[in-house]
């Protein structure tokens, strides 16, 4: 069976997430503005088949076209690169999506029994997890981006 770590570390996971997000944005825009696929393809100067490809969740074209498309639906794409190991860790505590959307700030601290204390600022309920051997920024995903790293060993 496919493991969670295997999935999160695969190119397919990030590609499908990207394609689905683009599909959702374009679909919403066309629906809210009552624009047909034909009119939208004319606006972008592309074929109707091209728009159908996006609406089938199969967008895999040039970066320039992706930006053009984003602007056409009155959106701007934000690009952020994160360490893969950190993403796998955040996912294991159920904080990956929230961190991506910067909805919460996560504070990580350690005591000498090698536990990581994680505090979600949304509800201030601390969670204790055992984890060793990795480094993470002290504050992640929120407003307070402290430039500190905690080494666990």
């Amino acid at each position: 069976m496919i493991t969670r770590k295997e999935l999160i570390s695969s190119k397919e996971y990030w590609l499908v997430k990207f394609q689905s997000a683009l599909y959702e944005q374009v679909e919403k825009y066309l629906c809210e503005n009552k624009i047909s696929k034909t009119d939208f393809s004319k606006k972008l100067g592309v074929s109707k088949g091209y728009i159908s490809q996006i609406l089938n969740g199969d967008f895999d074209h040039k970066i320039s076209k992706f930006i053009e498309l984003s602007l056409a639906i009155e959106k701007v794409p934000f690009l952020k690169f994160e360490n893969l190991e950190k993403c796998v860790f955040l996912d294991s505590i159920g904080a990956l999506d929230a961190a991506q959307e910067s909805k919460i700030s996560i504070n990580v601290s350690i005591n000498f029994t090698k536990h990581i204390k994680i505090e979600k600022q949304q509800n201030n309920e601390p969670i204790l997890l055992k984890k060793t051997g990795t480094s993470f920024p002290v504050n992640y995903g929120g407003v307070h981006l402290a430039n500190q790293f905690v080494g666990l060993s």
Partner: protein, 130 residues
């Protein structure tokens, strides 16, 4: 008399839970995933299907070309198909439980696969009625 067990799919995380159907200690879907791991193209597609399951679990929108309601008329328990270029994965929805993945198949065998999926579903539903 077969025994049915629902095993949580660890790779799928979200608001809606996903399970694989285990019948008499055997999971067709697990065997299918293991068999596919040897084929690079199919393995890549399987990862995409697992990502689609995650999207559904997180209640995100998906195009019908990737995730389709295949429930027959007058059938109350909803049936769904996850699609990639060559693969098809079939699941049904149970209220208060989540989505139960019961069968994995291929595009070119879907005519045979769908009745097998419905047979698993119907046997499971009968087992929980008793």
């Amino acid at each position: 008399m077969s025994t049915f067990v629902l095993k949580k799919l660890e790779a799928v995380v979200g608001k809606q839970l996903f399970f694989e159907l285990v019948v008499d200690d055997n999971s067709q879907f697990d065997d299918y995933c293991e068999a596919i791991k040897g084929n690079r193209q199919y393995y890549s597609e399987l990862l995409k299907i697992f990502t689609l399951m995650n999207q559904v679990s997180q209640l995100n929108m998906l195009p019908q070309t990737k995730f389709k309601d295949i429930t027959p008329n007058k059938e109350s328990v909803k049936e769904y198909e996850f699609k990639s270029k060559h693969l098809r994965v079939y699941a049904f929805h149970m209220e208060k439980t989540g989505k139960i993945v019961a069968y994995g198949g291929y595009k070119n065998t879907q005519k045979d696969d769908i009745p097998k999926f419905r047979s698993y579903k119907s046997r499971y539903l009968k087992s929980i009625q008793k």
